[in-house]
Symmetry: none
Subunit: 215 residues, 2 copies
DNA sequence: CATCATAGTGCTCAATTGTTCACTATCAAT
DNA sequence: ATTGATAGTGAACAATTGAGCACTATGATG
């Protein structure tokens, strides 16, 4: 079993994976540093050393961009299928969530959908949620749409996120102020929701995509 | 169409692919030269330049190992893949369409996307079109979104369709009146378009879905 | 409080790597 | 016979990139 990563290390590992998928080769130390405002290559190098020690990557000594990513086992099991160089990706569709039940509980699953693996990976634990209500129409998210949710990413201010609020699942734009969390609907008929009781609130994940089928 | 490679160029391209698959990153000029007993990096570089000119790779200037391998998919046959009992579906993404060119011309294709075969089948000749402009925001279709288009289905009144109008591709709601075709934008800032000259107008297909990726 | 792991700065240095030049050689096609 | 595309040498140079050191800071833990 692999050792657990710190928050920072996990961010950096994900950046390396994304970069490599987009460019076909891994980033340099300075490119990683640039992304995270780490001005010293040494700071970055130590993160890589930590990732290597914990078994997530292998670093080629003195080689530029010499980062080998070690695939997690769970990348290959379950519903991710490898065909040649491509990964096909089947994620569950969550329909109406029964109050109090874990969102991915069997009773909440209404089916599955294949999603391009360029965008979300099964390894991220992504799932699709069918949207109820019209509170996000100004963001182009309508009743019945599927939003693709990545629980690995809890979102930052301005992101569209899925949250659990008083046993209900809701899609809103996240707005973080100093000491205050506000959920913004994207519909003038609804008011922003200010989080008063942090115990009855949690962020499930960031919305990474929207899928709609007509007729 | 891609130009033919020489024997040597083909060997080198294959080596780069193999190297990348084994190591997770592309080789350096000297590593390529080492494999083929080419002592000068310049000799190797010129092979890469040739590969780039012929459209097989893209070289990142001054970047170590900066070799991007361009995938040459044949979009029009053999891209439905069977895995077990499931069919996976890869359809081309059409970006900006050059005026006067057929919409699926190679120069218009910017990539491909895997779509759940439950919704659109390759057999329908479906493709994805990247949306330009904001004329459909009230229908939840934004600039940059991908609309999934089925050319088998020319749509009926009330459907969102993709049409070719005066050498331009446009997404609108179709409205058929007796003896008149009107294209309705879904944005109050735009006016409906009444088709006067049927020669400069044709329906490409019906929009069967919308896909949007955030960040 | 002391200790340890994590995280970062600013800097130097060495190694790696890409770029370019002038020159040679082969082969196919004009 | 001359031209053009391909293929390669050897060297010098510039740019990128990784490695390492001394030092600072924070939070968790015992």
């Amino acid at each position: 079993m692999k050792e657990k990563l710190t928050e920072r290390q996990n961010e950096i590992l994900n950046f390396i994976k994304d970069y490599r998928r987009e460019n076909g080769f891994p980033p340099t130390l300075r490119e990683i540093g640039g992304r995270f405002q780490i001005s010293s290559t040494f700071g970055v190098k130590r993160h890589l050393n930590a990732l290597e020690k914990k078994g997530y990557v292998v670093i080629e000594r003195n080689a530029s961009r010499g980062i080998r990513i070690i695939q997690h086992d769970d990348y290959f099991d379950g519903d991710t299928t490898r065909v040649g160089d491509e990964f096909f990706n089947k994620i569950p569709i969550v329909g109406r969530v029964a109050a109090g039940s874990p969102i991915l509980a069997m009773e909440n699953i209404e089916g599955s959908i294949i999603i391009d693996p360029t965008f979300v990976k099964k390894a991220e634990g992504a799932f699709a949620l069918r949207v109820r209500g019209d509170s996000m129409i100004n963001a182009g998210i309508f009743e019945g749409d599927l939003v693709i949710v990545s629980p690995d990413n809890k979102g930052k201010s301005g992101d569209v996120i899925v949250a659990m609020l008083d046993d209900e699942v809701t899609v809103k734009t996240l707005n973080v102020k100093k000491n205050k969390i506000v959920l913004l609907p994207e519909n003038d008929n609804y008011d922003p929701i200010t989080i008063e009781d942090k115990n009855s609130f949690s962020i499930i994940g960031k919305v990474k995509g929207v899928v709609r089928w007509l007729n």
